[in-house]
Symmetry: C2
Subunit: 543 residues, 2 copies
């Protein structure tokens, strides 16, 4: 039942702004749950199970060289709830289940905390894996048995890729931006997607999207006076990276009541507010499709955002890693590069960095750590600095580079692998769409819960209208109310979700992020567990 009228959200927004006036610009209150964990010495329960406490050591050593008091305070400040307290507890429960089956009211932990499809049973795309295997061990390429094991077009593509690698050496460091031939393939894929030219020299291949985001934050942030506009809620990589680099997160709020709408009036308001505090705002982060919110931006909305960045002289940092994950017929992904070019804007007009990853999409190859950023509208002098930063880490892993080129150039009609590839791809995407719908409907039935639809990405971000009694109980337990709810959910059902406070939310509202990734046959059980838990939780705490 949708209890959240636009009016109430507005009121809460206004309250939050008033609160922010008297608050530091660290906007720490937006990220409350894991904060306390990392600032206080954490109890044993909070250690990763693989890191048992060594208390006696620190005790018997008078003054260890490294302590919480003398490490980089930016590290202390950094938070990452997606792998925070709740996940650490889940890992411990999993160990306990393994050691002592039946020790909990559930027989398995269901990790709905992170977009990690293959950890929940999603199978990799065969064509992609065939090529990775052949490039890892080229010695078998011309063996007769290989014909029986691998598709002909995979063998052919592996040869093509090897020929793009100097000396066919898949074990060599590549150019710091990535293998030129693979960047050519990616640029061609971007051109095919957008209908506008792409330059392979603008592509920087990276170990997933995260290092690319860190690189841009490191480039743009000199001090806490440099601000980065980020959506609230946001993917905590951004708050973590900004904290690690000592900058200021300038929050702008997505409007939950209008399906997580992104309004330029809100951008403008927050920009002015930051300027009035002496913050020099350098860039705007837009996540499309949204994480954790799942909305897909409309093209005219994107045009407004492009014009806003152009007018305000902001770098547009476009997180487009979910570009393949769109589930609703009335929405479509458009890259910000395509949108800005369609407006007639070129290199001179807009500084735009687009992030892509092999971890998402229908392929979900998280463990391969492949990705790239396309850097446009940046001067050659500055781009040389980015190249230098990339060169300090030499290059990203070659398998990830190859995979990044493959997701941008999959099999085509007529290729031997095309039918199988298409069946695998459509099977995964249509199933994700069904899972998103089923979970969204189940959540909206729950008392005091409202959940926008997942138009894209891999997540639902329901709002829980928690009773005062539950909020008081959380305060007594010295934890955020949504973290209190998620911890209770985990202990009762084995379902792992992430408290909204890890992503940021309108103060006074409470959410959690739940992925849509458990295999379809598990969804009914999750719905039942979630429904039963929520009912008993509300029965316990209803005001």
């Amino acid at each position: 039942m949708r209890k959240f009228g636009s009016g109430r959200v507005r009121a809460l927004l206004i309250r939050s702004f008033q609160q922010k006036q008297i608050r530091s610009t660290s906007s720490s209150s937006l990220f409350s749950s894991s904060h306390s964990r990392f600032l206080s010495a954490a109890p044993a329960v909070d250690f990763p199970p693989s890191s048992p406490p060594m208390a006696d050591h620190s005790a018997s050593r008078p003054s260890p060289p490294v302590t919480l008091q003398n490490i980089n305070p930016k590290v202390l400040k950094c938070e990452y709830a997606v792998r925070g307290e709740i996940v650490t507890l889940a890992q411990r429960l999993q160990e306990e289940l393994k050691a002592n089956p039946g020790s909990h009211p559930f027989d398995e932990i269901l990790y709905c905390n992170i977009g990690n499809p293959q950890s929940l049973g999603q199978q990799p795309i065969t064509f992609f894996r065939e090529i990775l295997a052949l490039c890892d061990h080229p010695a078998i390429l011309d063996k007769s048995e290989t014909q029986g094991l691998f598709s002909a077009d995979a063998i052919e593509r592996a040869w093509e890729i090897l020929d793009q690698i100097p000396g066919r050496a898949t074990g060599a460091y590549s150019h710091s931006q990535g293998i030129k031939g693979l960047r050519d393939t990616i640029a061609a894929g971007i051109e095919a997607r957008d209908g506008y030219p792409a330059n392979p020299n603008d592509i920087f291949l990276t170990d997933g999207a995260s290092p690319a985001v860190h690189m841009m934050m490191q480039l743009l942030i000199s001090s806490e006076k440099d601000g980065i506009l980020c959506p609230i809620p946001q993917y905590p990589l951004y708050s973590a990276s900004i904290a690690l680099h000592g900058g200021t997160l300038v929050p702008y709020f997505l409007d939950e009541a209008s399906g997580w709408g992104l309004e330029t009036s809100e951008l403008k308001k927050q920009l002015e507010d930051a300027k009035s505090k002496g913050i020099n705002v350098r860039a705007l982060v837009v996540i499309n499709p949204g994480n954790p919110t799942g909305q897909v931006l409309a093209e005219d909305n994107q045009r407004q955002i492009v014009d806003f960045c152009k007018q305000e002289g902001l770098v547009l940092l476009a997180d487009e890693v979910y570009q393949e994950n769109v589930y609703v017929p009335d929405k479509e992904f458009h890259s910000f590069k395509k949108v800005s070019r369609s407006m007639g804007y070129g290199e001179q007009d807009i500084s735009l960095v687009s992030f892509q990853s092999v971890s998402k999409g229908y392929y979900g190859e998280c463990g391969k750590r492949g990705g790239y950023m396309e850097v446009t509208g940046i001067s050659p002098e500055v781009r040389e600095q980015i190249y230098k930063m990339a060169s300090v880490n030499l290059c990203s892993n070659i398998s990830g580079q190859i995979l990044a080129s493959l997701v941008m150039s999959p099999p085509k009609v007529g290729d031997e692998s095309y039918e199988m590839y298409l069946a695998e791809k459509d099977g995964i995407l249509s199933s994700l769409a069904r899972r998103a719908k089923a979970l969204e409907e189940a959540l909206n039935i729950l008392e005091g819960v409202t959940c926008n639809r997942a138009e894209g990405a891999m997540y639902l971000f329901p709002c829980i209208n928690l009773p005062q009694k539950a909020i008081k109980a959380a305060e007594a337990a010295k934890t955020a109310p949504d973290a209190f709810y998620c911890r209770r959910l985990l202990n009762a059902t084995g379902v792992v979700v992430v408290p909204g406070s890890g992503f940021g939310q309108v103060p006074g509202t409470w959410h959690f992020r739940c992925t849509i990734l458990p295999q379809e046959d598990k969804i009914p059980a999750i719905v039942t567990r979630l429904t039963d838990f929520h009912k008993s939780f509300m029965d316990e705490f209803r005001d």
Copy 2:
């Protein structure tokens, strides 16, 4: 001809200290060549060939959001000569040779600038690649053709590794420290190497050693008041990482005259000097075997270093990525963990981080980006902070994780692959030893050149006693004398080496780093080219 007596080095050391008194602690003068390149807008020749200038853009745009004036000054300050100016020139020459064969007095570029063995023809270890291929495409594991293509023990090991991965999902994010089962294997390998216990919970798997070094620098450095003791000459990853994190590199000089000896009296002297400038020295970096210097530390020297860190409360950052690369019978690699444990020191006594990589050794799998750090003597609270930093990047790539476990647990006597593995390994290491010797002897014959032997690692770091006339010519060309020499060498021979100024050297001395990695059949040609070039260079500039 060894012209460099201990006396002269001492005199130069003393002069350098006096210079440092009146200099900022950034010790920038130790790294002169690439500095100017990155601080000034570089001429077109300095762009990576893949990044053509877009001058008109920046021209026609009134005020671009990002300029050299408003980016993070730490990025500007950071340098990385191993992929700096000379390499950019080499890439351009290679393009010219490709487009227009015969356009230069050589027919190929020989990259002796970087430890990248497979780029120069070194073949990967078959057993390792078989397993990577099978783990990338497990679907073929139980096919009959697979028996004919892969060794039985590789198939068996692939099954073992897959069973250590939750859900056998090689495409899933792993635990942020790396897959537990692989860390168990690595810990067992460390125990077998050292004869002392290793804890899998102390292992953090990383995309090569570089991200691990960055993580420790980020943890230890809060401001320019935090200092890290680094050898001079050093591998520029350290100076780059310290610059990016805003710390101060506190140099200690290796004694070239005594074969790059590391004397604790020098450590003490530099520590006191830094303290007197208000620098809080946090850690000591030791690279053993040495890069770029190639020396292998004697065990009693290592004991002195351990005691120094213990007494001074410094974290010992041990770069041990060349642990498999020792070429002389009178030297042996001992890990600092083994040495400190053999002294009776445990977790309470010494904070020690050891870095290992799959990029070096006899395997040289640079493109796989695998590695780990073993973190000991760090409190659980601080270790949790390291875990949090690792979790922000989710995990390192799984192929690299698997490879890191394989290099620490290669085939054993009796395994089907053992004979082949041993032949491949010994073939590579014995050839590297011969190449090191041949190049060292060739260099020592040259007029005004002295070169210590490469006891280990992959490099020679000869000292060139450049004539005043050459130094003046370099000044006129606004470049460091050693960079001037290396640029001339490249233009004349196609051989790419890195100027000593990129690693740091005693002021007034000039060196270059040359890898020993070109295949053996190319060594005579390199020696001839180098000898002829050096003779003509000296004839042109001899005083």
